[in-house]
Amino acid sequence: MCSLASTADSTGVRPLMREWRAVIATWWTILRICLEERLVYRGDFALGTLMRFLPIVTQIFLWGAIFQNAAVSGVSTISGYTYEDMIAYYLLTMVSRAFSSMPSLAGGIARQIRSGEVKKFLIQPVDMIGFLLLSRVAHKLVYYAVAAGPFALVFFLCRAYFPGWPEPLVMAAFLASLVMAFLLGFFLEALMGMIGFWFLEVSSLLFVYMLFTFFFSGHMFPIDMLPGGWKTVVDATPLQYLAYFPAAVFLGKIQGRELAIGLAIELGWVLLLVTACRFAWRRGVARYSGFGG
C-alpha cells in the first residue's frame, strides 16, 4: 500500500508554493506506484478482456432472431434501433462500462472501515477518497492500455454494425460523457461504501444497487425500450449515464439540445455526488473517531 509523509511548512507565498509542489509530487508518487502495481498483472488482462466479449456473440444471434421475426411483419426498428444499431449499442456499452464499473470499490471501503484500516487515512494528508480515486485512475489507465488491443480488434471485426464515425462535436460529447461516467461510477460506489460508517452490513445495499444498475443502466438493453412510466423512474436516477448515455450519444440517438441537456444533467449528478461524498466522509470520520476506534 502506498503511504507518505507530510511536509511541514511555515506561512508565506513561497512556502505555500512549495507546499503545493510537495502535494503534487506526493500525488504523482501515489499514481506511479499504483500504476506499477497494476502492470504486474497485465498478462491476465488481455485474455480476460477478449473473453468478456463472448456474450456479445449470443446477443448478435438473439437480436438477429428477434429482428428477423419483426421483419416478417414489416417492422425494421425497435424503439428506433435497427438490428445493426442494437449490436453496436451493446458493443458501445462495453466501452462505457469500461469507464464506469468500479469492481470491489464499495466493498473495499466498507471492509476497510470495518477492519479499522481507515484509521491510517485519518493521520495522513491525503484522504481516503482522493487516494482511492487516484488508484482507480491508475488501474483504469493500465486497463485501457492493455484492453485497447482486444477492443480495437473486436470493433474492427464488427465495423459493419456501426453507422460510421460521429461528427467531431458529438465525438467530443461522447468522450466527455465517458469521463463523467467514470467519475459518476466512482463517487456513487464510494458513497455506498461509506455507508459502512453507519451500518455494519453494507452488502445488502450493494446488492440492491447492483441489481438496479444492471437493469436500469442500459447494460441489459437500451433504456429507450422501456415503456413511458418506467422511463420516468429511470430518468430520476443517474444510472443511465453509466452505460446507456455514452452509447446512445455515439449512435446519434441523442442530439442537439437534448444532448446538451443530457450532458448538463450528468455533470450535475457528478457534482452532487462529489459533494455527498465529501459530506459523508467528514461526518463518517467524525462519528468514527467519536468511538475511539
Binding site: V40, R42, G43, A46, V146
Partner: protein, 337 residues
C-alpha cells in the same frame, strides 16, 4: 514382515519458472524453463510394527514428502514402498481405512461446524460401527480432555484444541499406522506437553506404529527411541537418540568448580571457555582429549578443584551442528545402527 518397507523411494518435481508479462507468458506456452527439484532421493527404510519413529531434518529435507508418499497422496518417481502390505499410491480404500495422517497447522475438520459433526462424517465415511465409534470417541475425548469443546465451531478453538480434535478425528477409525507431520508446531508449551503425553500413552497402549516428523527435540526425546535423520532427500542416520551424540558430537562440556573465589588464568589452552563465573568455569573440550585435559587441570599448582562434571552438549546443539554438517558435505553413506 515389517509393517513399513521402503526401498529406493524417490520423488522429483519439475518446477516451472513462471514469467510475468504477456509476451513472456505466451512464449511460455511453447517452451517452458524448469528446474528439477529432487525432494526425495532414494530412501530405504524398514519399520516394525509398534515402533515409534522420529524423522528429523532441516527444512526442505524431504520429511513431509516422504510422509505424503507413504500416505499415497503423491506418486513417487522411482522406488517401492509397502505399508501393511499395500502400495500406498494405489489409494486402495482398504489401505486408506487402516492408516491416518495428521498435519500440523493444516485442518481437515469443517471450519464452521462443531468438531462432533466432522466426527460423525468420519464415522460414515470410514464405516465405523456405531457402538465402536461411540466408545472410541468417548475414550479419546476423555484422554485429551476436550469434552466441553465438542459442540463449539472449530474456528473458535485455540490452535492446541484444534490439534487435539484433529488427532481424535485421525484415531476414530482405529488406524494401525499413524503419520504425524509436525503435530506440535506453533503450539504453546503446555499444549505440546499434553499432546506428547497423550501420544506416548496411546501408542504404548495400542501398540500403534507411528512416524513423526518434528522440529522440536522435546517431541523426539519424549516419544521416540528411534530417530531417522533426513537431509537433502536422503537418510543420513537411522538409530537411537543417544547414538546421535556419540556419532555426531565432537565435544564434551566440562564444568569445574574451584575452591576459593578465584579461577586460574589461561584455561583457554585447554578448550573453549563457555562461561566464567568464579568459582565456576565451563569449558568445551574436544572429546578425544577430555581425559588428558582433566588430568592437566587437576594437576594445576595452587588450585584445588572441588567438583567436576563432564556432560554431553545439549541435544539441540548437536543436531543443529549435524544439520549444518550434512548440508555442506556431499553424500556420505547413511549410518545405521
Amino acid at each position: 514382515m515389517a509393517i513399513i518397507e521402503v526401498a529406493g523411494l524417490a520423488k522429483s518435481y519439475r518446477v516451472y519458472q513462471k514469467k510475468e508479462g504477456l509476451v513472456a507468458s505466451l512464449r511460455g506456452v511453447f517452451r517452458r524453463e524448469y528446474r528439477l527439484v529432487e525432494a526425495v532421493r532414494g530412501i530405504d527404510l524398514t519399520v516394525e510394527s509398534g515402533e515409534f519413529v522420529a524423522f528429523l531434518g532441516p527444512n526442505g529435507a524431504g520429511k513431509t514428502t516422504t510422509l505424503k508418499l507413504l500416505s499415497g497422496v503423491i506418486h513417487p518417481t522411482a522406488g517401492t514402498a509397502r505399508v501393511m502390505g499395500h502400495v500406498p499410491w494405489h489409494r486402495e480404500n482398504a489401505y486408506r481405512r487402516r492408516f491416518a495422517l495428521v498435519m500440523g497447522q493444516k485442518n481437515q475438520l469443517w471450519w464452521d461446524l462443531p468438531a462432533q459433526e466432522s466426527f460423525r462424517l468420519h464415522q460414515q465415511i470410514y464405516r465405523i460401527d456405531p457402538t465402536t465409534f461411540d466408545r472410541q470417541r468417548d475414550e479419546l475425548v476423555d484422554l485429551l480432555s476436550v469434552g466441553q469443546l465438542l459442540g463449539q465451531p472449530v474456528r473458535e478453538l485455540s490452535l492446541g484444541e484444534r490439534m487435539k480434535m484433529e488427532l481424535i478425528a485421525a484415531l476414530l477409525h482405529s488406524p494401525e499406522v499413524l503419520f504425524l507431520d509436525e503435530p506440535t508446531i506453533g503450539l504453546d508449551v503446555i499444549a505440546q506437553h499434553n499432546i506428547q503425553a497423550f501420544l506416548r500413552h496411546y501408542q504404548q497402549e495400542r501398540q500403534l506404529t507411528i512416524l513423526l516428523t518434528s522440529h522440536y527435540m522435546k517431541d523426539v526425546a519424549a516419544l521416540c527411541r528411534r530417530v531417522v535423520i533426513i537431509a537433502h532427500g536422503q537418510i543420513r542416520y537411522d538409530g537411537s537418540l543417544g547414538g546421535i551424540i556419540d556419532r555426531f558430537s565432537s565435544h564434551k562440556i566440562v564444568t569445574l568448580l574451584f575452591a576459593g573465589d578465584t579461577i586460574p588464568t589461561g584455561l583457554s589452552r585447554f578448550g573453549e571457555v563457555l562461561e566464567e563465573s568464579p568459582p565456576k568455569v565451563r569449558l568445551r573440550v574436544d572429546r578425544s582429549v577430555v581425559a588428558d585435559t582433566l588430568a592437566a587441570i587437576l594437576a594445576l599448582p595452587d588450585q584445588t578443584v572441588q567438583d567436576v562434571s563432564v556432560e554431553d552438549p545439549p541435544l539441540e546443539e548437536v543436531i543443529a551442528q549435524m544439520f549444518a554438517q550434512v548440508s555442506e558435505r556431499p553424500m556420505p553413506e547413511a549410518v545405521t545402527q
